[in-house]
Symmetry: C2
Subunit: 222 residues, 2 copies
């Protein structure tokens, strides 16, 4: 059985889990949490970048959520995670990359400042940072995505691709920090997120991480 390393509440690990769910393939989870454990020699032997997720399949070991998703897609061709046309494939990879580079750090700020920080680390929210993130930095990123979101279905047709999974996984992280896409300003993207959350593979991933989310929330009550 393949082994997936990384805390399932991490957006990049969530991406891989959604991929496994779409393919209907079971995996063994090693719920390693970001922090000093990722810089230990044991983990650096798995992913020398010290990042999550990483996937082990026999003697193959790779990191990077987009690479893991493409590996799953090429190993299990049913329920494709990539469009077929070369142009669409390039744009699909690019949106996945853009979500990781532009959307991820902003969603993580909201997640950290509004959710994990106050609840788990008992740190006050840096409201100025949250305001700047939500009011100045996120809007152009959402504008870019809105322009690429269709009225129906997903970004490249009827089912989820690595681009959809990437965008959704990041916005779920922001949602834990009480941020949701404003449907009056980004109507297509907001509707896309609603459709995405209802997708069985996404719903299944959210169900699996619920316990960890509740644990963090409960820490805030103490």
């Amino acid at each position: 059985m393949m082994k997936l390393h990384g805390a399932m509440i991490s957006p990049n690990v969530r991406k891989a889990i959604i991929g496994f769910n779409i393919k209907g393939v079971e995996f063994e989870a090693n719920n390693i949490v970001p922090g000093p454990d990722l810089k230990k020699p044991e983990y650096l032997a798995i992913n020398p970048l010290g990042l999550i997720p990483a996937l082990q399949d026999g003697d193959l070991t790779v990191g990077d959520s987009n690479i893991i998703l493409q590996y799953l897609d090429e190993k299990y061709p049913e329920h494709p995670l990539m469009p077929e046309d070369p142009r669409d494939r390039a744009e699909c990879r690019w949106i996945a990359e853009y979500a990781g580079s532009a959307l991820f750090p902003l969603c993580f700020v909201v997640f950290r400042q509004n959710f994990v920080g106050p609840n788990f680390f008992k740190e006050p929210t840096d409201q100025a940072l949250v305001d700047e993130t939500v009011n100045e930095k996120l809007p152009p990123v959402l504008d870019y995505l809105e322009a690429r979101t269709p009225d129906i279905g997903f970004l490249f047709g009827a089912d989820l691709t690595i681009a959809d999974i990437s965008v959704l996984a990041m916005l779920i992280t922001a949602a834990y920090g009480s941020y949701s896409v404003d449907g009056t300003r980004w109507p297509k993207l907001a509707a896309f997120v609603s459709r995405g959350l209802e997708h069985p593979a996404v719903a299944q991933a959210l169900q699996a991480e619920k316990q960890m989310v509740e644990m963090i929330r409960a820490a805030g009550q103490n």
Copy 2:
């Protein structure tokens, strides 16, 4: 004709150029240089991450050298840039990613401190930074690559893949900063680099960037 944005002396632009050379496809070059120009609205409309390279093919516009190489590979299947087996493909993408994340910043330090800084910007070399980069940070990265380098041919067979192109492009950047892989410590990798530099597509890329390199060297004489 496709348009490639980015200074050809940048390692990530070099990667795309080597891909074009392997495919035997012509392109129009927009030699935009890293710096403030990448943050202007005109360029952000091409690549919202403000990074080079970016590729325009009609109404398709994508960034990221690995995505550009895979697009070229899927648009022009002859002279493949990817292995066939799903496991090899995953590892190929991963080594390309690793070269970009782990090798690139270190090679860039050497390039900047030993070549562009003193020659073009007339800034003294930060020798402590160079020593730390060369003596402490590069060795584990080269160890990782050495363990994956075969005695003959390239990383996944007889011809260059996106992984080979990524590793070579970064080490060429370091070579401008007078750094070369020590063949007594990393014999397979050093021999691989020698073979790579002799590859016609790589030699052609180096020839094309020669003028820019000489211009920077000449600036150092004034």
